[in-house]
Structure formats: structure tokens, C-alpha cells
Amino acid sequence: MAVMTYIQAITTALREEMIRDEKVFILGEDVGKKGGVFRATDGLYDTFGEDRVLDTPLSESAIAGVGIGAAMYGMRPIAEMQFADFILPAVNQIISEAAKLRYRSNNDWNAPITIRAPYGGGVHGALYHSQSIESIFANQPGLKIVMPSTPYDAKGLLKAAIRDNDPVLFFEHKRAYRLLKGEVPEEDYVLPIGKADVKREGTDITVITYGLCVHFALQAAEKLAEEGISTHILDLRTVYPLDKDAIIEAAKKTGKVLLITEDNLEGSIIGEVAAIIAENCLFDLDAPIKRLAGPDVPAMPYAPTMEKFFMVNPEKCEKAMRDLAEF
């Protein structure tokens, strides 16, 4: 098994899917000759040519909308938004069109499009290159939102997204791109969209999170283990629609639940996770459901002091986890 970075796993998935199915193609800003600003599409232009790795004009709504049109025809477009922060001009296409197409046509039409976007902070990206934008789309039935936390998950879930017959938003943590390395099978495999994954077994407290925060929680759990605190960690992987069964099972397992997101607290994904637990696990809980998230300010500032203040990190996780364990 090869060890690769998170972004190499993404590129590998793209390459393998383009070889497997001629209907798969990529469109976005700078995805062609340059291979993407993060180099997620590195080398694909040389292999597959400009028709299948399409440098588009700088227009996000067209990138999404043209992709949706091609998907309606029967292609398998992978649209790249250069930064998740810049997906906003395409929201009408994603929410009014892609999300509702199957439903509004009574199952006559569908849009098998994957929209990839790098999200997340801790990279000195300031307000507009750092945001978590998943909650904007997380009450839009018809959409699926996948946010993998490891290279292994990234490859298997991106392949699943491309093969899915409905629109999938695939958000990649940009700091994870080169920070995270892991073993990735060379053979073809897909992971199920809509299924959470236990990343660590434990008995004292449960952490439910996704994306880069999974790693912060794992690091914190290692430290807490030295103190005799055993942490169970559930990685949501798909943040919409949520894997309710896995959430309930993980919460019941320890009765003490901490929910973590890098997004602003109010209205984030973890609020819905808390509601699922509150509805289903009342008599299994031994502590209030706790949340750790970014503060409710518009987005993270540029200056390192303020950026660090905003970001979730292993230390913040460790403190919140210990507090919960001691409740």
C-alpha cells in the first residue's frame, strides 16, 4: 500500500475515474495547464487533454451551471471551485438547480455532478480563503456533502461522489492537503456516502466531528489516554444528510458527547448533530452535549494571533475533552 498525502489521494481518484469512464471530465479555474492553484489536478491536463480538463472563464455560476447542463446530458462533470469561499456566486445553480432537479422533474432528470472545493483555515488565508461553508448547503435536500478527513477516505469517497447519480459537494480541507499522509490502496475502491466512520474506539467520552478536526481530536485523545481517559471518535465524513444511526450509537456508547467543528458555532452542522442526540439519547446521557467551534465572528482574521484564536486546535480539543470527562 502506498503512503500518500491527502491531495495526492484526490489527484489519484480523479485520474483513475477519468481513465475508468470517458464521461468524466473536469472544469474550473486554472485546473488545466496549471494543474490547479493547489495542484489537485496536477498532470491531468497532460494525460487527458484540454477537452477533459477544461480551463473555464472566471465565473463560478457558469462553472456550476455548465457542469449541471453537461450532467443533465449524461456526462460526469467534476467542477472545481478554487476556494470554497468563492462558491457563493454559484449557490443559485447549486441550490435552485442541482439540488432540486430530480425532485422537481419527478425523477425524470438528474444531475450527477461533483463539485469540489478546498475549505478551512489555519493557512493565513484570512476571511475569504479560510471559511467553512458546508452549513449553507446543509438544509438542502437533494444535495450530499462529503468532507473526508484522511487520504484513504478522500480517495474512496471522491470516487463514490463521481459515480453518484446525484449532486455531491466535496469539500477538502486545504491545510490537510499536504499536512496529512496515510496509506491508500492502489486498487480501485469506493466508500459509502452517508456513512460515518469510527476513527478511534473508546469508553469514557465521545467526540463527533469531521474534516481536519478529526486529527486534532485524535491527537488530543492520545494525550488524554496517558491520563487514563478513553475517547471514542466518530468521523461524520458525510455532513449532509447525516448518518443518524452512527451518531446515536456513538453518543450512547459513552453518554458524554463533545461535538467539534471549525465552522462558526451557531447554525453549524453540529447543532443538528446535537438535536439528533437530544431526541434519541436523553436517558443515555451523563452530561450535557458540549460543542467546540469557531467563534461567531464573520470569518477568521489574517493576523496570526487572531487566526489562532479562531481556529480549533489539538489543545482546545484536549481541554474540552478533559472538561467533559471530568463532568
Partner: protein, 328 residues
Amino acid sequence: MTSRHKQLGLSDEQVIEMYKTMLLARRIDERMWLLNRSGKIPFVISCQGQEAMQVGASFALNRKVDFVAPYYRDLGIVLSFGMTAKELMLSAFAKAEDPNSGGRQMPGHFGQKKNRILSGSSPVTTQVPHAVGVALAGKMEKKDFVSFVTLGEGSSNQGDFHEGLNFAGVHKLPVITMVENNKYAISVPMEKQIASENVSIRAKSYGMTGVTVDGNDLFAVYEAVKAARERALNGEGPSLIEAVSYRLTAHSSDDDDRYREKEEVNEAKKKDAIVAFANELEAAGIISETQISDIEEEVMGIVNEATDYAENAAYADPEHALKYVYEE
């Protein structure tokens, strides 16, 4: 005059079919208003005044292979592309058998995969990038079809219009955009919508041919769309056509039309393209007065039958509202 349709390569039978299709669109539309005013259907949004451009454009396309992304007034286009009067009435009554949406969407939100009519929504102009995407797919797959997309002139101010046309222009895609300029975006007239002298001049920015034609002149629209289709198939890229007519009804059944002078509307009605086309065909000896009344009778028969069928058809079960969010 006599040979106008022949010069365009159209047979007598074809122009009679065009006339029938226009008339059917008009009569379905009028029936929907009656049904609305008698409390039987909640909403109508009209094609009246735009049938000639819709039918003229459709017949210039290849209705067996081309894709259309219509907007809410395009009764004439969807009829030309194979949707039936019965299906349109099922949509008006929001019945389960409605092929557009199974009664989920308001009337005028067309879509029918088997006839390559892309499904549409209510936010205007989102269909432009979709048509561009279909054209891109066609080019990638080396297929000989074009995509045809329509919208109102007010909608040509939306970002998706400009983003879509620019994308099509850059990649020289076989897509034809027709702006159906009926001079009003609900209540706001053309001069308060568009700073340029017309809509078609906008084509220049996107490296494509742009023309303005008389939308009441079916043959002029036919000719413009046919030429655009030929250019598209020759690899010469997209075209923008602005067809100008006038909206003969209020914006919708929920609009009181208080912002226009009655005289202005009456003047436009005098130039009704359907009446003019019938007169033209009669003057050219293609069709007789008797045939005109026979066609009228035939069309009304179709409309009556469609209305009866749709009115008596079943609604979807309430729980059907839960279906088809995702693939099942």
C-alpha cells in the same frame, strides 16, 4: 410573398403545421386563463404574443436531436418539441401524470427528458448555463446537435446570461440563445431594463453573432435560427437572437397589468402574429378560409379533450411528496 416559405425550403404542409401549433399554443393558453378565472387552476403564465417566434424557431431546429431549455412562456416551443396538449393541461391542473413535474411545479416550468426539454425552475436565466453545458457535452461527444435556450429580455441582465454566453463564446459551443423580447419584465419596460440599444448587441462582447428580428414574423425568426444552427454545426460557435414582439396578456394570472396603457395593448393585438400568419397563408393560396375554420375546430377539439382529461385525472398521493429527493 407567395414563395416566402419556399425560399426558406419549407413545404406547404410544414407551414400549415406551424400555424396549427401556434394556434394550439394560443388556445391552450386562453383555456388556462378561463380555468384560472373560474377558480379551477391556481396560476397561469402566458405565451400570448410570442407564439410565432417560438414556433418559427422550433421548426428551424432539428426536433429529433436538438435540446431545448425553454423559459416559462414557451408553450409554442414545448408543443413543437413533442409535448402534448393533454400533458400541458395535466401540468396546469397539477396532476400526477404531468410529465413536467408530476404536479410539483407551477405551470410553465417545463421539462420532459424523452423530448430533450431540459427541466426549468423559477429563478430566471439559470437555464442558460445548462444549455451551454449540453452543447459542451455534444461537442465533447462529437454529436451533431445544438442546444437552444430562451429567456425574456429582462432576464438578459442576470449574471447567468453573461456568464453562460461568455463561456459558450470562449469555447465556441453549438448553442443558440434566443431572447424573447416582449418589451416588459413584469411591469418594467425595456428602456429601464437595458442600457444598450437592444439585446442582441450584447453578443459582440461574447464573440458571437447577434441579430434582432421581428418576433411577429415567423419566417424571419425561422431564417435567423436556421442560419444560427448551420453556423453552430459548422463549428462557428454560438449565436444570440433577439426576437421582438409584445406581451399580449398580463405578466401572469396574479398581475393586474395596471402599468400599461390599454391603447398600447390594443395596438399590439391588432398586429397579432397568428392572425397575420393565417392571412398570409390565405393570401398566398396555401390555405383556404374553410381550412382555417377546420383547423380552429380541430384545435378546439384537442383543447377540450385535454381539459376534460386533466380535470378528471388523479392528483399524486400526499406521501408522494417524499419521493425522488435522491436516486431510489
